[in-house]
């Protein structure tokens, strides 16, 4: 009896794993087919930020030469989080409200929660790609970027956590917002996220603007940016790595829990 139960559980786990990979595979395949438009969507905004702030203004002398060093890790962080948010939120709003295209995946032999987890993982995959393609762009646009190579493994962990947190935040938005409001939500949520993530400035040095620092502390992107600076450009003042890792794990868990709950509510009547 015990043996059959164990076998049944084992078989089920295999089936669930295959279903999960199937659903993830579909999303990755669709992204792969539209890779060109995906890249342009991901690259244009950070490219101009990088170009204007890192190149133009510094060449004109308005910005100190070292600024590009500070900006690039911030933009990697920004893309990891925001690309993941958008990869999950917008399609979900449309799926649940209009096309119902996700229904076939909700009927896969996979718990509804796991379909939600798949959305987060997929968002994170897009976020990671969006972040990594910024590295060559940075090297091309900026005159000199020097990174502490020993910090790369920690950076990878930070980016993965940041992208997962972004995917989870996208799940919260995608399941909580009605299609009529999605434009407003994107305008009032994405833009502040863009400028409060300590992307363009070091978090610790804005202590003179205390209220702004508090707001930045609530933005998960801050911890990716600061963690990356600690790992790649340690000469710039930054938050301790353990604080960044802890804050990111916490946001993954918090957004993940709220988002998965919202997903189940939308998926089942």
């Amino acid at each position: 009896m015990t043996i059959t139960t164990t076998t049944a559980t084992g078989l089920r786990r295999v089936a669930t794993g295959r279903a999960f990979l199937g659903v993830l595979g579909r999303d990755v395949a669709v992204t792969g087919r539209e890779f060109g438009s995906f890249l342009s969507q991901v690259l244009v905004q950070p490219f101009f930020l990088l170009f204007v702030f890192g190149k133009v203004l510094s060449q004109l002398g308005y910005i100190a030469p070292g600024y590009a060093q500070l900006l690039l890790p911030g933009l990697l962080a920004l893309n990891a989080f925001l690309v993941a948010v958008q990869a999950v939120a917008l399609p979900l709003v449309i799926d649940f409200s209009f096309t119902k295209e996700i229904e076939d995946r909700l009927l896969a032999p996979l718990s509804t929660r796991m379909v939600a987890v798949e959305k987060i993982v997929f968002g994170a995959v897009r976020g990671m790609i969006g972040s990594l393609v910024m590295i060559p762009v940075g090297y091309l646009v900026l005159d000199k970027v020097t990174w502490n190579v020993a910090g790369l493994p920690v950076s990878a962990v930070l980016l993965v956590l940041g992208a997962l947190a972004g995917g989870a935040a996208g799940l919260v938005i995608g399941t909580a917002v009605s299609p009529r409001r999605i434009n407003i939500v994107f305008a009032v949520v994405i833009t502040p996220l863009l400028f409060t993530g300590s992307t363009q400035f070091p978090f610790l040095q804005i202590s003179s603007l205390r209220w702004f620092q508090v707001i930045c502390a609530l933005n998960p992107i801050t911890y990716v940016s600061e963690g990356l600076r600690g790992a790649l450009t340690p000469q710039i003042p930054h938050l301790p790595t353990w604080v960044c890792l802890g804050a990111l794990v916490l946001s993954c868990l918090l957004f993940g829990a709220i988002g998965i709950q919202g997903f189940v509510r939308r998926a089942l009547d």
Partner: protein, 358 residues
């Protein structure tokens, strides 16, 4: 207990409706259990209740039925009767409020994941994946259900061919006609070889050719041993496709039997339609109802000049005709046209659910 695997692609001629589910038992190889009830049902619903949040009444209000393996079961009812909600519970998309629902013996509430692997769904609204072409819709569906990679492509090609969509393999679902999309959705529902296929209003909005095609495929599936549960508000479709029909209204099951038995159970075994002038239809209806051998009468159409009456007759229509004609004349009316007919499922349906619009 269920259909033998692999027989799906070897359809044999559909047996007559009356003994189709008996033959299923033979297939189930249980010679010691002659009664249909002894076979474990493919679908079972017991005292099912669903109340949506904030609703004032139950969408499904204590429905019970069982579907034998290989049977085609039709849920017939007006819009909003609770058919789609019942299907929603059985397909794990709607959470029941009370009662029990099983598919292939699996409780859909306690083990929805296992239930999803044995059931296929054709939803009321097309929900094809428009990021994928027609064939990719099938192939990825198979991937979700763990069909081995090497089998997905050939299986998809085979189903596309069966559904007459071979030349549409690379077409985006957006560019398919309503009938083509519906056939593709049926093909998708079959990719993981389900034991039970649920079709929610499978031919609503289709042209007659597409509708016939879908009907043929459903009959073929049933012949191949797949249990089919379908909802419809089309009487003819229910009567044509289903071994048994459950009539649902206001979340309750009003009647459940073979289409023939439902019709036979209606008081009156034949109908006489009369086109009458010169008499008040309401009064005439009451007078005709009182004629000997008449089970009931109703006004089908109260036109400005002529009124069309339908009279249900106990026994033979011809025998009752002279009495009816005399009564019309006695009421001061004149008969312009007479039509004799057998009652249909529509008469049963109207008898049970009334004429009021929803």
């Amino acid at each position: 207990m269920t259909a033998p695997p692999g027989n799906r692609h070897a359809p044999f001629p559909s047996p007559p409706v009356a003994w189709r589910h008996v033959s299923t038992e033979t297939r189930a190889a249980r010679p010691d259990s002659p009664a249909p009830d002894a076979v474990a049902p493919a679908v079972e619903v017991a005292d099912l209740v669903k109340r949506y949040p904030k609703a004032t009444s139950n969408a499904v209000d204590g429905i019970s039925f069982a579907v034998a393996p290989g049977e085609v079961f039709g849920l017939l009812g007006p819009n909003g009767a609770g058919k789609t909600t019942t299907i929603g519970v059985l397909t794990t998309r709607v959470r029941k409020t009370a009662g029990r629902a099983t598919v292939a013996g699996i409780d859909v509430a306690t083990d929805p994941v296992a239930a999803r692997s044995v059931l296929g769904v054709v939803p009321q609204r097309p929900n094809l994946d428009r990021s994928l072409d027609a064939k990719a819709n099938l192939v990825w569906h198979a991937a979700y259900h763990g069909v081995p990679r090497a089998e997905r492509g050939p299986l998809a090609d085979e189903l596309l061919e069966r559904m007459g969509l071979t030349d549409k393999a690379k077409t985006n679902p957006d560019e398919l006609s309503g009938g083509q999309a519906q056939r593709l959705i049926i093909a998708r529902g079959l990719m993981h070889d389900p034991q039970v296929l649920f079709l929610d209003e499978p031919s609503t909005g289709l042209d007659p050719q597409a509708r016939l095609f879908v009907h043929d495929r459903v009959a073929e599936l049933a012949a191949g041993g797949v249990t089919v549960v379908l909802t419809t508000h089309d009487m003819d479709e229910a009567a044509k496709l289903s071994d048994r029909v459950g009539i649902v209204d206001h979340g309750r099951l009003l009647a459940l039997d073979t289409p023939a038995a439902l019709v036979a159970g209606l008081s009156g075994s034949a109908t006489v339609d009369l086109d009458v002038v010169g008499s008040d239809p309401g009064t005439l209806r009451d007078r005709l109802s009182g004629v000997r051998g008449i089970a009931g009468a109703e006004v089908l159409d109260d036109g400005p000049a002529t009124a069309r009456m339908r009279v249900r007759v106990d026994g033979e229509a011809g025998a009752a005709l002279p009495g009816l004609l005399d009564e019309v004349v006695a009421a001061g009316g004149r008969v312009l046209d007479v039509a004799l007919g057998e009652p249909t499922l529509e008469d049963v349906f109207i008898d049970l659910t009334g004429r009021g619009l929803r």
